[in-house]
């Protein structure tokens, strides 16, 4: 009994140490958001900042609230549209028994392989040609396209867990595929859908390079604002710190509330939790 308690305490302390290592860097930047630049680089370091100093936030938000709004719109928009496209496709790949379904699935996943760095210029040309530049809509479309492979793959792995007899029974009763999809597959895979939604959301929220090229003034997103703080004359650290805090809020919230889904998502659905 005693050794077990001692072991637990040692392990707990170790766990705390590890957790601290993964928390500290961000924590340090978050604390910096409450300091002016002099204080951010003061030595010895100012461990506890004056939390009433919110000038960084007010300045940063007044400059960037439009971009924040754009990010929110684009992220939610691409999440919804990604689901609208991917879920039916994943359903079809899983339950329509046809030759080449595996091949199609692999092909879909492979479209994710081109580094976004290389896709930026061709896509810009395409969208310019279609006159779709500088609209949040264009950004939503591109993000959706980048998200679909992952979304299809993970959704399919969740759909696979639905017992086929259930599907078969409904088919015999004369239900259409659409009815089966809406009435059976989706309700049974709520967890999987949440997982897909989280990762599509995070990808769109974090994306920078494509947004830089596809947006003019109206549709600039928040990561662009952050990267604009770094120039050759200076890095506006106050804005960087405050913006990092804001940028990290959705990821942090999602991690806290939807932890379980993150595990399955990270492994492309192969691992249930």
């Amino acid at each position: 009994m005693k050794t077990s308690a001692r072991k637990n305490i040692t392990l707990l302390i170790l766990a705390f140490c590890f957790t601290f290592v993964f928390l500290a860097p961000n924590l340090w930047m978050f604390l910096g958001a409450f300091k002016n630049q002099n204080a951010m680089f003061a030595l010895p370091p100012i461990w506890i900042p004056d939390f009433t100093y919110i000038k960084n936030f007010t300045i940063m938000l007044s400059e960037s609230y439009r971009y924040l709004l754009n990010s929110i719109i684009v992220t939610i928009g691409s999440t919804i549209i990604s689901l609208v496209f991917s879920l039916p496709t994943a359903f079809g790949l899983t339950f329509f028994k046809f030759k080449g379904s595996n091949f199609l699935a692999d092909w879909i996943l492979s479209t994710r392989m081109l580094p976004p760095v290389a896709a930026a210029i061709p896509l810009f040309m395409l969208f310019k040609y279609m006159n779709l530049l500088d609209s949040l809509f264009a950004l939503i479309i591109v993000y959706t396209a980048f998200n679909i492979p992952f979304a299809v793959w993970v959704s399919a792995s969740f759909f696979k867990r639905i017992p086929y007899d259930l599907i078969e029974a409904s088919r015999i009763e004369g239900a259409s595929w659409l009815q089966i999809f809406l009435k059976i597959a989706i309700p049974l895979s709520k967890g999987g859908i949440a997982t897909v939604a989280i990762f599509v959301f995070i990808f769109s929220w974090n994306e920078l390079l494509i947004a830089l090229f596809f947006t003019v003034s109206e549709s600039r997103t928040f990561p662009i604002f952050i990267s604009a703080q770094v120039s050759q004359a200076q890095i506006i650290w106050g804005n960087v710190a405050a913006a990092t805090v804001i940028q990290s809020i959705p990821p942090i919230l999602l991690t806290i509330f939807l932890q379980k889904n993150i595990v399955s998502g990270l492994t492309l659905g192969a691992v249930k939790n």
Binding site: L11, T89, I121, I262
Partner: protein, 297 residues
């Protein structure tokens, strides 16, 4: 063509069309461009040179081959650290999983995975300033080590990038291995206890074999991501010092967007694509195997 067939097509075809336009077109265009000497500022003057771009960046110039080497070196180092550290942490969290607080700790630990890579880079740029950063302060005050150029000298720069990369992704490996540990049936632990096995035996004979497929999965998934490593390098070392931390994606970026040599840049992108495809094919096979294992466990 009955109604059912149309219905089925509607489930799948729109997505494929979408992907064809948005994902395939850039790929095809990149392959096409890679065969030309082309500069974005004068595209009408581009001319066909066949394989010359590939020949130049792979065999004549020393930068891209170094970039490939660097990418894999960083990938393997990071992944090794992540596996070892991840396993240790997974074991610890596994042993204390009955304690409520371990959930909280675990949640906090996985946050780095979800953060914007750009922000991660900026955070470490802030921390690793040699004279003004907090890392130097800690080194000097607690360990008596003089600060040096963590991001400015070749070996420290490589180590820094590996460290930042591992920092962001070790929690991923930990979660994966933790899930793996949880699949080990309790009976095996009971049997081991009865046989009087010590922790070393338990670890090597029971735990590691069971989680091997998870480790493999983790390695492959991480490898795919490491090949596209970009944001951290972009913010901190910019490929330097010299070309110590130049990685493939960064090479493509600066060739296409700084020098605007889109022909050469596309060639490097195609090479990255081919490498990714090979690794993904392996990944897919492994993923399917892990799934099957899961179904039978």
């Amino acid at each position: 063509m009955n109604k059912e067939k149309i219905e089925k097509l509607l489930f799948i075809v729109p997505t494929c069309l979408f992907l064809l336009t948005i994902s395939i077109f850039p790929f095809l265009y990149s392959v096409y461009l890679s065969l030309f000497q082309a500069k974005l500022t004068k595209m009408h003057k581009k001319f066909f040179i066949g394989w010359e771009n590939y020949q130049y960046i792979l065999f004549e110039d020393d930068i891209f081959p170094t970039a490939i080497k660097n990418t894999f070196m960083i990938a393997f180092s990071s992944i090794t650290i992540e596996i070892i550290l991840g396993f240790i942490m997974a074991k610890i969290f596994f042993e204390i999983r009955h304690l409520k607080i371990s959930n909280v700790l675990r949640t906090v630990t996985i946050m780095p995975i979800m953060l914007t890579p750009l922000c991660v880079g900026l955070v470490f740029l802030y921390i690793l300033n040699p004279t003004l950063g907090i890392f130097s302060y800690i080194l000097e005050t607690f360990f008596g080590i003089e600060p040096f150029a963590y991001l400015g000298k070749p070996i420290p720069a490589k180590i820094s990038i590996i460290a930042i990369n591992s920092w962001q992704w070790t929690p991923f490996m930990m979660i994966l291995l933790l899930a793996g540990l949880m699949t080990v049936p309790n009976e095996q632990y009971e049997a081991a206890k009865i046989d009087g096995a010590n922790w070393y035996h338990v670890m090597t004979k029971i735990e590691i074999p069971s989680i091997l497929s998870f480790v493999l999965l983790g390695v492959v998934l991480r490898l795919i991501e490491c090949i596209r490593l970009f944001d951290i390098i972009y913010v901190t070392t910019r490929g330097g010092p010299g070309i110590a931390t130049e990685v493939m994606a960064y090479f493509t970026y600066r060739t296409e967007f700084r020098s605007f040599q889109v022909g050469t840049g596309s060639a490097s992108a195609v090479i990255i694509l081919i490498i990714s495809l090979i690794i993904t094919t392996i990944a897919v096979m492994l993923l399917r195997r892990v799934e099957k294992n899961e179904d039978f466990s």
